[in-house]
Amino acid sequence: MSEADWPLFEVFIRSRSGLEHKHVGSLHAADARMAIEHARDVYTRRQEGVSLWVVRSADIVASDPGEAEALFEPARDKVYRHPTFYAIPEEVKNL
């Protein structure tokens, strides 16, 4: 690895009150330990997070926008997956 090759890492942070890690940006680091430190220094100066994930950008597999229709459209008409689809009488509790 030459000095120009500090690889790119993507940074994900879970905030204090959050449930999931959100993508906040990227940075360069020589190794994973450094990447965590850099992520902490760059992205948590205002107490934004309690948990950090760093992933080498090269390791991320993303869905292809060209396939967005095939991947995501079919879910659109399956509204029966949403609770609001079902009409339950008001008198019935706890459903």
Partner: protein, 264 residues
Amino acid sequence: MSATPAMRKAADTAHEEARFRYVLRLADTSLVLGQRLGEWIGRAPALEEDLALANLSLDLIGQARLLLTYAGELEGRGRDEDALAFLRDAPEFVNLTLAEQPNDDFGHTIVRQWLIDAWQLEIYTRLEHSTDTRLAAIAAKALRETRYHYRFSSGWLVRLGDGTPESHRRIQSALDDLWRFTPELFAPDEVDERMSDAGIAPPLTELASPWSARIDEALRAATLTRPASQPYPWHGKRGVHTEHLGHLLAEMQHLQRTYPGARW
């Protein structure tokens, strides 16, 4: 013969004077080191390291502010953090001599940082249980910061020590240059002894071997050689410094000296 009121009063005064000096030493070491790191901003080897060094600097200046404020209160002559930082001359500064050594290259900066981080880890860990509750609280906060500082500096020590032949050579050279300032870290004087007798501070001699063990572990991982012992009696803690401190203070104090009495 039991102590007379006059003797007791003199002992109290000596004790308070020692406590003031002890806190001031911790403050000055953090202040001078923080000031040195501030010189790096915008010049670090990578943008990410600019941010890292800035973080370290902010932590150290924060420690200095808390400790200087406390020292001023102990002294009882109305000096606040800025009066102490900007209006004392070099002989009144009582930082560790190691802290004022110049940045030189990144290798020197990392070695200086690592040696002091390892020292602060020992000191703050024990000070967290000081009978002086104010000092204990400051130490607790500083300890969390110092753990991160140590992670950072030791990480870089290992990367550069066990990196390229050039990085290894440079960092070994920095270690050889700075090692001679380490004996002062654990050389107690009467201030340290008064404080450890009173349960306020840990006995310095007890910290030497845990520090040394931690240092050796890092040196092994970094494939570096521990320099031979060079027992020179540095006296930064007593206000006798190297030529470097005068220049550092001249720069730091310039505005307050040029515009006496002004509010900023």
